[in-house]
Amino acid sequence: MASGSAASSSSSCSNWVMENGDVPHVLAVDDNLIDRKLIEKLLRNSSCRVTTAENGPRALEFLGLASDKQNNLGTGSKVNLVITDYCMPGMTGYELLKKIKESAITKEVPVVIMSSENIPTRVNECMEKGAQMFIQKPLKQSDVKKLTCQLMNCKG
C-alpha cells in the first residue's frame, strides 16, 4: 500500500510517501492515444512504472474495482498514483475519481486530474472529491517531475 508509515505526521501528502527504493507504479488514463503515449514517456522519464488505460471502466478493472465483481481485494493491481484525463466519453475522469475514492481498497491512492480546460468549477469539484492535483494539458516534463517528486519524497 502507498505508505501508511508517513515520514511526518504534519505532512499533508503522507499518502504520497513511497518506501525507499520503490519505483512508483502509475496508472495513466486517457482516451486519446497520443496523450497516452506522451504521459507514458513523461512518467517513464521520471522513473515510474506505467500502465495505461483508455477509459474509466478499464482503469477500474485494473484497480480491481470492476462493477461486476464484489470486493475483490487482492485481484486488483497496486498502484501508487492514478493520473486521469477529465474529458472522456462514457465515464469522465471526475466519475473515475469518485469511484476510486469511494472504495476502501483504493481511497488512499492519490488521483491527479488532467484537463485542457482550466475551469474553476471543474477544478473545485475535483479537489472536493479528493483529487490531489489538477494539471492543465498539454503535459510537460516539469509538471510530471513536480508530481513524482511529491510521490517519492515528501520531505518538505
Binding site: 482516451d31 486519446n32 496523450d35 506522451l38 522519464n45 485542457s116 494539458k137 498539454p138 503535459l139 516534463q141
Partner: protein
C-alpha cells in the same frame, strides 16, 4: 552536403516552423523526451498523430455530410483533434480546432464546412513540414551526425 551544414539547415528549418507558428513550445517538449533509449520518440508520436488526425478528419467530413448533422458527435471529434494537436505542438491546427468548436456550438453549418477545410489545410501543411523535417533528420543520421538539441532562445 556535409554534416555540419545539414545540421545548420535543420536548425534553421526548425526555427522557421516555430516563427511561422506551425509548431509551439510543446513540440520542444517532445524533442526533449527523445533520447538514446528512445531515439525515434518524436517520429513515433507524430506518426500516431498523422494516423489519428486523418481518421478524425474523415469522420468529421462524414459527420458534416449528413442530412441531419450530429453536432455533438462532430464536437467530440474536434475535441480529440484539438487535444492531440495541442499535445504535439501543432499550434495552427489546434487554433483552427478551437474556432471550429465554437462554430459547432453555434450549429452554423456553412461556417463549419468552411472551417473544416481550414483545419484540413493546416493539418496537411504541418504534416508536410514535419515530414520534411524528419527527412532532414534521416539524412543527418545517415551521414553519421546527430540531431542538434533545440534551445528556446529564439
Amino acid at each position: 552536403m556535409e554534416v555540419g551544414q545539414m545540421q545548420r539547415q535543420w536548425m534553421d528549418y526548425t526555427k522557421s516552423l516555430f516563427l511561422e507558428g506551425y509548431l509551439d513550445g510543446q513540440f520542444l517538449q517532445l524533442q526533449q523526451l527523445q533520447d538514446d533509449s528512445n531515439p525515434d520518440f518524436v517520429a513515433e508520436v507524430v506518426s500516431l498523430f498523422f494516423e489519428d488526425s486523418e481518421r478524425l478528419l474523415n469522420d468529421l467530413t462524414n459527420a458534416l455530410d449528413q442530412k441531419c448533422i450530429d453536432f455533438k458527435k462532430a464536437d467530440a471529434h474536434i475535441h480529440q483533434l484539438k487535444g492531440s494537436s495541442s499535445s504535439i505542438g501543432a499550434e495552427r491546427v489546434k487554433n483552427c480546432c478551437i474556432i471550429f468548436r465554437s462554430l459547432c456550438e453555434e450549429q452554423n453549418i456553412d461556417a463549419c464546412i468552411r472551417c473544416l477545410q481550414q483545419v484540413k489545410q493546416e493539418y496537411f501543411l504541418v504534416k508536410n513540414k514535419l515530414e520534411t523535417l524528419f527527412g532532414m533528420e534521416q539524412q543527418i543520421v545517415a551521414a553519421g551526425g546527430s540531431i542538434p538539441k533545440m534551445e528556446l532562445s529564439f
